[in-house]
Amino acid sequence: MAKRPAEAETFPKTNNARARAAVTQPNTGQLVWLCVAGWLIPGCGHFILGKKGRAFILGITIIVMFLFGLAMKGEFYAMQSASILQSLGCLGEMCVGVAMPAAKFFGYSGGDPFFVSADYGTAFLVSAGMLNVLTILDAYDIAMGRKP
């Protein structure tokens, strides 16, 4: 078998990868819509990209974590708060998307700080938001072609 030159072995693969990335990269509006959809409904970004299995697992896990936080009567922080940590906690809880306003709509008053599991519940609520942020960033990376 004849030996191929070194350049021919490397350049075609690189050019193909660049061409593939140039064709599949979405525009800014699509990326923004992807991130907003992923924020509103956990896992929706992956669902839009066709990764239905991942979307289902991520969405269910984050929603279940949020529901456990409600069951443990975790606290909903207020944005206007004297403590910056509480304001950041509010941002974290809002990162779950429509789950927080939906809970308020169904009458969740914001938790009971004297309940035995309330602190754990608050941690679950904020962590669900943070995990959704990771999920949104993962969907963005998949859309940009950085990972499969």
Binding site: R54, I57, L58, T61, I62, V64, M65, F68, L70, A71, M72, K73, F105, F106, G107, Y108, F115, V116, S117, Y120, A123, F124, S127, L131, L134, T135, D138, K147, P148
Partner: protein
């Protein structure tokens, strides 16, 4: 008849969970390791193995830190 008020009543009075620290930690570790496994790896087998490693690390390190802090009085 279904109504928002009845659903709120059911949620408030029957959907509560009073648990101690250890089961809360196990639950948190399980849910977090599932998400980490799905996001970090590409094949189902790799995701399961990595998720299991993350879960064991979460629980193991928490127990280890608990024992380290046990003799401390403050």
């Amino acid at each position: 008849m279904f109504s928002i008020h009845r659903l709120s009543f059911i949620i408030h009075n029957f959907f509560t969970m009073a648990i101690t620290h250890f089961p809360a930690m196990l639950l948190f570790s399980l849910l977090t390791s599932v998400v980490f496994g799905v996001l970090s790896k590409n094949t189902p087998r790799e995701r399961i193995i990595y998720g299991a490693k993350v879960f064991v690390a979460f629980v193991g390190i928490a127990i280890l830190l608990g024992w380290i802090m046990y003799p401390l009085s403050w």
